[in-house]
């Protein structure tokens, strides 16, 4: 508890945290913008593939592999955004009834555990990207290198980790100081 008393009490900390949240939101929005449109490309590609197969007996070569890549870009780049807007399903039956500060403490703990898991995911996805790059693994039909997907996973998990880290800091400061700003209210709602 004594360490937490060292948390600064001036408004600059609130501003700093609000700035962190704003930056992570911007990053997430950019990642989302890059990723989300691929669902439409997947839709068109698969339609073309089916039409090509039935009408011209010529399916699009490597359509499945390309769809896999598109799914990866679509999904991985959407991870941080999805978490940021609180869309990751969680049970709020107990935490929703808690007073504000205990709620923030518990949220800080679960954020810390999530952060540990996601950071390790980002780090080890990076290591596996290097391994795949060195091994020269490629897809079967189009011979596309696999390692960029691991790089993407490392980047997506890193963005997610940043989002969780920001939430963790906000919850910790909010719990320690009992702050009542908007970002703390948002944080406790998850």
């Amino acid at each position: 508890m004594s360490i937490l008393m060292l948390v600064p009490t001036d408004a600059r900390l609130d501003l700093f945290l609000a700035g962190c949240k704003k930056r992570t939101r911007q990053l997430n929005a950019w990642a989302l913008a890059v990723g989300m449109g691929w669902v439409l490309v997947m839709m068109c590609l698969t339609t073309l593939d089916v039409a090509g197969r039935y009408f011209f007996s010529r399916p699009v070569p490597g359509a499945i592999e390309m769809s896999q890549f598109m799914l990866a870009v679509f999904g991985i780049l959407g991870m941080a955004y999805t978490h940021g807007i609180g869309a990751n399903v969680r049970v709020t039956l107990f935490t929703g009834r808690l007073p504000r500060r205990p709620g923030l403490w518990i949220k800080a703990v679960t954020d810390l555990l999530s952060l540990q898991m996601v950071s390790m995911l980002a780090w080890y996805a990076g290591i596996m990207a290097v391994e795949e790059f060195t091994g020269g693994t490629t897809t079967d039909t189009l011979a596309i290198p696999i390692y960029p997907l691991y790089v993407l996973l490392a980047v997506g998990a890193f963005l997610l980790a940043l989002e969780i880290l920001t939430d963790f800091m906000i919850c910790l400061v909010g719990a320690a100081r009992g702050s009542r700003g908007q970002i703390f209210n948002d944080a406790v709602k998850g």
Partner: protein, 433 residues
């Protein structure tokens, strides 16, 4: 420490983390990761976790999830829901509680192009609730029928519930989707019967609408929803006759609705971005839960708990229907607290081997579990459809809970019917191409 103890401790920690509000996907991955590390080594757990996430985001058959989701989003943007409701109203309005039955009919129609119960409830709620309010329908009946009707989105194909079940249990997604068709229709019919009984018991709940509709007018109204009929036959007919895989059918359905929305001049940039954002949100939420589930399932496999539990239950001299009943009660209880996808992910790794060991058909059990998940969507305190309808109708949640209560009975009736007569769920999938 022996693997069983570690496994049981892992399950206990998982439930603790869930109660503390940790996102379900992260909690599964966290417990799975540390469980694997404890039983083997961290050098095994690290690649297992990365491969689980990597596999989830790069498996071709999983593309069906965003494609089904965007189908529903585009159907909403295209404004088809209004047309569906008008058609259902013209055909069904003269029945007792006609507008509420029309709501169920419209929900069934919308569910045939949308895989999400929440989207079905929200979309039809906006259309049907003001109409029922205009005709002084009882608020319990009005909100209850929309919230319950919304659950059909989870059962009538294309259904995200069946896709997730198929992925988790490695069953044919096509067969599962087809198997949901007749039980979905049966459930809609049972919902309608509940409304009829409700209105017979309390006639003031649904004032009679005396306005006649000519048969010609009814038939002509179908033209308003020709797109829906085409897309349903394209998607489900394609899967049934073996022309397309579910992923291909999803892409074709979404593409068709994209073109329809474009021609109806409803596809603004803002609407398209909103549809894509919602698709990302829903799909990634499911992907993260699935990725976490893979890590957790790996851990469970190491503990041998699912296999030994299924063998133990298989050797017991209890009736397999008794064990099934216990499983269904567990589902009903979990449904009160958990989201449907999360419930599947948490229970199937343990329950599915038991179901197979007891000799139940896995496709049939898929239908039964999806029906039970539907019940979870309208049971207090965490029924997702209740929240949605409470927001749309601007009434307290208690009102919607009370309104949906009789409809739970319909779900139980269908579960019993499908259990006693499994062919209700299986005959279509048994003869499919």
């Amino acid at each position: 420490m022996d693997p069983h103890t570690v496994g049981l401790m892992g399950i206990a920690v998982l439930f603790l983390l869930l109660i503390l509000g940790m996102p379900i996907g992260f909690a599964l991955a966290f417990v799975g990761f540390w469980g694997i590390s404890f039983l083997t080594d961290i050098s095994v757990a690290m690649p297992a976790m990365v491969r689980s996430f990597f596999g989830t985001f790069t498996t071709y058959s999983f593309t069906v999830i965003p494609l089904f989701v965007i189908m529903g989003e585009l159907a909403t943007v295209s404004g088809l829901s209004q047309g569906i409701y008008e058609v259902a109203d013209k055909w069904l309005r003269r029945l007792p509680g006609g507008m509420a039955i029309a709501t169920i009919g419209a929900c069934s129609g919308f569910a045939a192009i949308c895989g999400s119960s929440v989207a079905t409830a929200a979309t039809l709620g906006r259309v049907a609730l003001p109409e029922m309010k205009k005709y002084n329908y009882d608020i319990y009946l009005a909100t209850g029928s929309v919230a319950a009707g919304g659950t059909l989105g989870f059962l009538i194909p294309p259904s995200i519930g069946f896709v997730v079940y198929g992925i988790l249990t490695e069953q044919s997604i096509g067969k599962l989707l087809i198997s949901g068709f007749v039980p979905g229709f049966l459930l809609a019919l049972t919902y309608a019967l509940i409304i009829v009984f409700w209105v017979m018991h309390r006639p003031l709940a649904a004032p009679h609408n005396p306005q006649r509709v000519l048969f010609k007018e009814k038939v002509l109204s179908l033209l308003k929803v020709w797109e829906l009929i085409v897309v349903f036959f394209l998607v489900m007919g394609g899967i049934y006759f073996g022309f397309f895989t579910p992923t291909e059918a999803g892409a074709l359905g979404a593409f068709f609705l994209f073109v329809v929305t474009l021609f109806r001049k409803k596809l603004t940039w803002k609407a398209l971005v909103a549809a894509m954002t919602a698709t990302t949100k829903v799909s990634v939420m499911i992907f993260i839960i699935l990725a976490g589930a893979y890590v957790f399932t790996y851990f469970m496999a190491l503990t041998m708990i699912p296999m030994e539990l299924s063998m133990w239950l298989g050797k017991m001299s209890l009736s397999r229907y008794f064990i099934l009943a216990v499983i269904l009660v567990i589902y009903l209880l979990l449904g009160c607290f958990l989201d449907a996808t999360a419930m599947m992910v948490l229970t199937l790794p343990v329950i599915f081997p038991t179901i197979v060991e007891l000799g139940f058909n896995p496709i049939w059990f898929g239908v039964i579990s999806v029906l039970m998940m539907e019940a979870g969507l309208i049971t207090p305190p965490l029924g997702l459809n209740i929240f949605i309808i409470s927001g749309v109708a601007e009434v307290p949640m208690e009102v919607v809970f009370k309104g949906t209560f009789p409809f739970l009975l319909a779900i139980f009736v269908v579960v019993i019917l499908v259990t006693v007569f499994p062919q209700i769920a299986l005959f279509l999938s048994n003869i499919m191409g």
